[in-house]
Symmetry: C2
Subunit: 510 residues, 2 copies
C-alpha cells in the first residue's frame, strides 16, 4: 500500500473547485506514502550501520536479519502507542448493490468516470468500525508486494550462488529432505491444527506447508564464515532452497483444493489426488520455464559472443531475461518464484561461463545487493507487523502446539531421513551434523510471505500471528545460538571438517 | 497500471461462490498484467540485442533510444490494429452520489468492506463509451510511474557522472543557458499557443516549460565516443541536465498558479510573481535537500571508515541514502527528481572519494545499469504510446507552429546568450559549437514524462500529441544527424579540439 501512488486527477473546466480539492488530496496522499516509505528506508539504513558495528566488533550472536526485526519492532511500538493520527475524511463508504467485488470499479461522479482498483478486503473491528487506525493501515503493504517484488531477487540469488558441483553430487539427499521433509512436517501439523478449534482440514495442511519452509540465510551466513565442509553446506543450503519452492507450490495447490471440497474436516481421496496433480504440474511447469529461459540466455550469450565487449548490455540482458522468467511463469499460471529459482541455477551453470569477467562481477554484485536489501526489508517489516497488524489472534494452546509440532516435524524429518540416506551415502551425514540441521531449521522470509498472503478468516489470522512468533523465536534463539553451538563443535572438531573448502570449480561461490 | 497487482481477495465461509469468482478474477487480472509487462521486457531485450548489432557493425546513424522508439512503434501498431480483445466483464460501473472523487473508496458488498484506490479519470470516447479498448488501456502506465520510478535513476546518474571540475569551471555559462534559455523559449511558445485555439495563457506557459527540457543522452553518447573538448562537453551536458530541473519545477509552479487566476487568457502580475516565488522556493528547497542528504552520506562514509571493508554494506547505504533523498523531498512537498540530481552531484563530489575502490565501481555500475534500463524503457514506451494512447489530437497548425517555436526558441536561446557569454569567457564558445548546441537540443524522457502527466483536457491532449512528434523528430533527425555533422567538423578540424580529454581529475567520468 505504500508504493508511491500519486493519483493524477485531472481538471475539467467545469467544476474547478471539486477538482482542485481532489488534486490536493491526491498530493497529500502521495506525500504521506513517501513519508511512510521513508520510514522503512531509514530503518534499513540504521540496520546497515548497526550491522557494520557488529561486524566491526566481531559480535556474532545476532544476525543482521534478527537485528532488522528488532528495529522493526521498535518502530512498530512507536507507531502503535506513540503517535495518534486523526481519522482522515478522505475515505467514503459506498453502499452499493454489487454481488461480487470486481477487480476494477468505474465510478460515475457527476458525469465523469473514475477508475478504482481493488486493494483487498478491509477487516473490521468488533463494532463494525472499518477504519481502526488509518496510519497502521497505511504502513501495511499489499502482501503481493512480497511475492512480486521482494522474494524473486532473494530466491534468484539463492539459485545463482548455489555451489552447483556439490549440489548435484548430493541431489538425491537434497530432494529427499526437501520433498519428504515438507510432507512429513506438513502432516504432523494437521494434528496440531485441531487445537486451534475452528480449523478446516485444509487450513491445517496449509499451515503445515508454510511453516515447513526453512530459511537458509542466517545459518548459512555463519557457516560461510566458519568454512564448514562444502558437501554438508550444499546439503543444508540445497534443502532449504528447494524447501521454499516445495512450500509455495504446495500451499497454492492446497488453496486450489479447498473450493472443490465441501469444506468439511473430512479427508477426500479424490480431492487430495487432484491437489497432488496440481502440485506436480505447477512444480514441473515452473521448473521447465525457469530452465528454458536460463538456457535461452546461455545460448544468446554464447552465439552473440561479441556482446562481451559491452558489459552494460550483457548485464542488462541478463537481468531482463531473468526477470522475464518470473513474468512468463506468472502469465502462464505457474509459480514465478520457483521458476526464478531454477532460472538462477541454470544461469549459474551455463550462462555465467559465457559472460565477460566484468559482467560476471556485475551480475553477482547486483543480485547480491538486491538480495541484501530485499531480505532486510522483509525482516524489518516482520518486526513492524507484530504491532501494526490489527487482527492478531494469539491462542496459547495453538501457539504451544505449533511450536511443538514445528520442532517435532523437523526432527521427524531430519533423523529418520538421514538414517535412510546414510544407508546409501558414502560421505555419511554425521550425528552432529544432523543436530545442526535440526537446529538450523529457521523460518524466514518465505514462511512470512506465505502466511501474510491471506489473513481474512479467523483461522488464517491465528496462523499468521503464530507464524510470526515462530519466525521470531527461530531467528533469535536458533539463529543466535548456532554460532556458539558450531564453535563448540569446532573446538572439539567432532566429525566436522571445518576449513575444508575445496572450491576449485569455476563457480559463483559467495 | 501494469505493476503486477494481484489482488488478494479472501474468502469467508458464508458466500463461497462469489468469493471464488473474485479470486479467479484477481488471478486472471494478475496474469494479464504479467503478460503486458512481459511485452515491455521483451522489447527491451530486443533493443539490447539490436544495439549490440549496431555497435558491432559500427552503424551510428541511429542511437539506441531512437531504436527503442522504433520497436515501441511496431508493437504499438500491432496492439492497435492487429489484436482485438473482447471486452471483459470485470468492470462494473457504479452510479453514486459522491461529490468529489476520493482517493480511497470503501465499498460495502453485502456486509463486507473492500478497499479501492483511485487510478485516475477514464477518458470517454464520443458516445460516452467508457471502455474504448481494454487492452490499450491496460498497456498504459500510470504517468506517475515515470516520476517516481523511472526518472529518478536517470537523473541521479546524470548528476553522479557529471565531470565536476569542468562543470564548476563553466558554472556561470551553464546556469545562464539553463535558466535564461528555458525562460526565453518558454515565452516564445506563448505566441504559438494561440494557434491551438482553445488554449489558456497558463497552458501555453506550461507547454513552453515542458518543451524546453533538452535531453543530454543521445548527443552526449556520440560526443563521448568522439572525445570532444571537455569544457564544451561540460557546457552542453550541464545545460541539458539543469534544464530538466528548471523545466520540472517551472511546470509545476505554473500548475500551482493556474487555480488562483480566474483562468482567463489575461496576464496577471501578482499571480506570476507568486508563481515565480513558488518556483524559487521549490527549486532551492529541493537543491538544499539533495545537498543535505549527499553531505550526510559523505559524513557517514567518512566517519565510519571501517565500512570500507564491507563493500556490500557501503553500496547498500549509498543506494538507500540516495533513494531517501527522493522520498524526503516528495514528503516535504519539494521536487524529488531535482533533489536527486543535486544529491547525485554531491555524492560524486564528496562521498565518492570516501568509498572503497570496490564500492566506487559497484555504485557506478549499478546506476549505469538502472539508467540504461529506465531510459530505454521510457523511449520504447514513447513509441508504443503513439498508437496506444486513445485521445490523440493532431492539429496541423499547432504542430507546425510548435516545431517552428521549438527551433526558434532554441536559436533565440543559444546564439544571443553565447554572444553575451563570450564577452566574459576566456575559452570562447565557437560559432561551430553554437551550431552543434543548437542542433543538439533533443527533447527526451523529461519532456515526455511532463507532457503525459496530465492529458485530461483537450488542450493538454493536443500538447501531448505534439510533444510526442517533437521528440520523435529531434531524436531521429537531430540525433541521427549529429554524427555526420560532427564528423564533418572533425574532418575540417574547425575550432574543435577533438581528442583533447584532460581527464586527470579523480572523477566519476563515464
Amino acid at each position: 500500500k505504500i508504493i508511491p501512488l500519486w493519483v493524477s486527477v485531472s481538471c475539467q473546466k467545469k467544476d474547478f473547485d471539486a477538482c482542485i480539492h481532489a488534486h490536493k488530496m491526491a498530493e497529500e496522499s502521495h506525500r504521506q506514502d513517501s513519508a511512510y516509505l521513508l520510514i522503512f528506508i531509514m530503518l534499513l539504513t540504521l540496520t546497515i550501520l548497526t550491522i557494520w558495528l557488529f561486524k566491526h566488533r566481531r559480535f556474532r550472536f545476532l544476525h543482521e536479519t534478527g537485528l532488522a526485526m528488532i528495529y522493526g519492532l521498535l518502530v512498530g511500538v512507536i507507531l502503535r502507542f506513540g503517535i495518534h493520527v486523526p481519522q482522515s475524511t478522505s475515505d467514503v463508504v459506498l453502499e452499493c448493490a454489487v454481488n461480487a467485488s470486481p477487480a476494477t470499479l468505474l465510478v460515475n461522479v457527476s458525469g465523469r468516470f473514475y477508475e478504482y482498483t481493488l486493494k483487498g478486503e478491509v477487516s473490521r473491528g468488533k463494532d463494525h468500525q472499518v477504519q481502526d487506525d488509518e496510519m497502521l493501515r497505511k504502513v501495511t503493504f499489499d502482501p503481493e508486494v512480497f511475492f512480486n517484488i521482494l522474494l524473486p531477487p532473494i530466491i534468484f540469488h539463492a539459485g545463482y550462488s548455489l555451489k552447483r558441483r556439490h549440489f548435484f553430487r548430493n541431489i538425491g539427499s537434497i530432494l529427499t529432505y526437501a520433498f519428504m521433509g515438507t510432507v512429513i512436517s506438513s502432516n504432523l501439523l494437521v494434528v496440531v491444527g485441531q487445537l486451534g478449534g475452528d480449523f478446516f482440514f485444509t487450513d491445517c495442511l496449509f499451515f503445515g506447508a508454510i511453516v515447513s519452509a526453512t530459511d537458509p540465510v542466517t545459518v548459512l551466513a555463519i557457516f560461510n564464515e566458519l568454512k564448514v565442509d562444502v558437501d554438508l553446506y550444499a546439503l543444508l543450503f540445497g534443502e532449504s532452497v528447494l524447501n521454499d519452492a516445495v512450500a509455495i507450490v504446495l500451499s497454492s495447490s492446497i488453496v486450489a483444493y479447498q473450493p472443490t471440497g465441501d469444506n468439511s474436516h473430512s479427508f477426500e481421496a479424490m480431492a487430495v489426488l487432484k491437489s497432488f496433480g496440481i502440485f506436480l504440474g505447477v512444480f514441473s511447469g515452473s521448473f521447465a520455464l525457469g530452465m528454458a529461459t536460463g538456457v535461452m540466455t546461455a545460448l544468446i550469450s554464447f552465439y552473440f559472443t561479441k556482446l562481451r565487449d559491452f558489459p552494460l548490455l550483457e548485464t542488462g540482458l541478463f537481468f531482463l531475461m531473468s526477470w522475464s522468467t518470473f513474468l512468463l511463469a506468472e502469465a502462464c499460471g505457474m509459480t514465478g518464484v520457483v521458476a526464478v529459482l531454477f532460472c538462477g541455477m541454470t544461469q549459474a551453470h551455463y550462462t555465467y561461463n559465457n559472460l565477460s569477467r566484468d559482467s560476471q562481477d556485475r551480475t553477482k554484485q547486483l543480485f547480491e545487493l538486491l538480495n541484501f536489501l530485499a531480505e532486510n526489508f522483509i525482516f524489518s517489516y516482520m518486526g513492524l507487523t507484530l504491532f501494526s497488524f490489527q487482527s492478531h489472534v494469539f491462542n496459547p494452546m495453538f501457539i504451544i502446539g505449533a511450536f511443538l509440532a514445528v520442532f517435532l516435524g523437523r526432527a521427524a524429518n531430519i533423523y529418520p531421513l538421514s538414517f535412510l540416506l546414510n544407508l546409501g551415502r558414502r560421505n555419511k551425514i554425521g550425528m552432529n551434523f544432523q543436530h545442526v540441521m535440526m537446529f538450523a531449521g529457521l523460518r524466514g522470509a518465505m514462511t512470512f510471505a506465505l502466511s501474510i498472503r491471506d489473513t481474512a478468516t479467523y483461522a488464517r489470522q491465528m496462523m499468521f500471528s503464530t507464524t510470526l512468533l515462530i519466525v521470531f523465536f527461530t531467528v533469535w534463539i536458533c539463529g543466535g545460538g548456532t554460532t556458539p553451538m558450531l564453535s563448540i563443535y569446532v573446538t572439539f572438531a567432532i566429525s566436522f571438517r571445518v576449513g575444508v573448502d575445496s572450491d576449485q570449480e569455476h563457480s559463483v561461490s559467495n
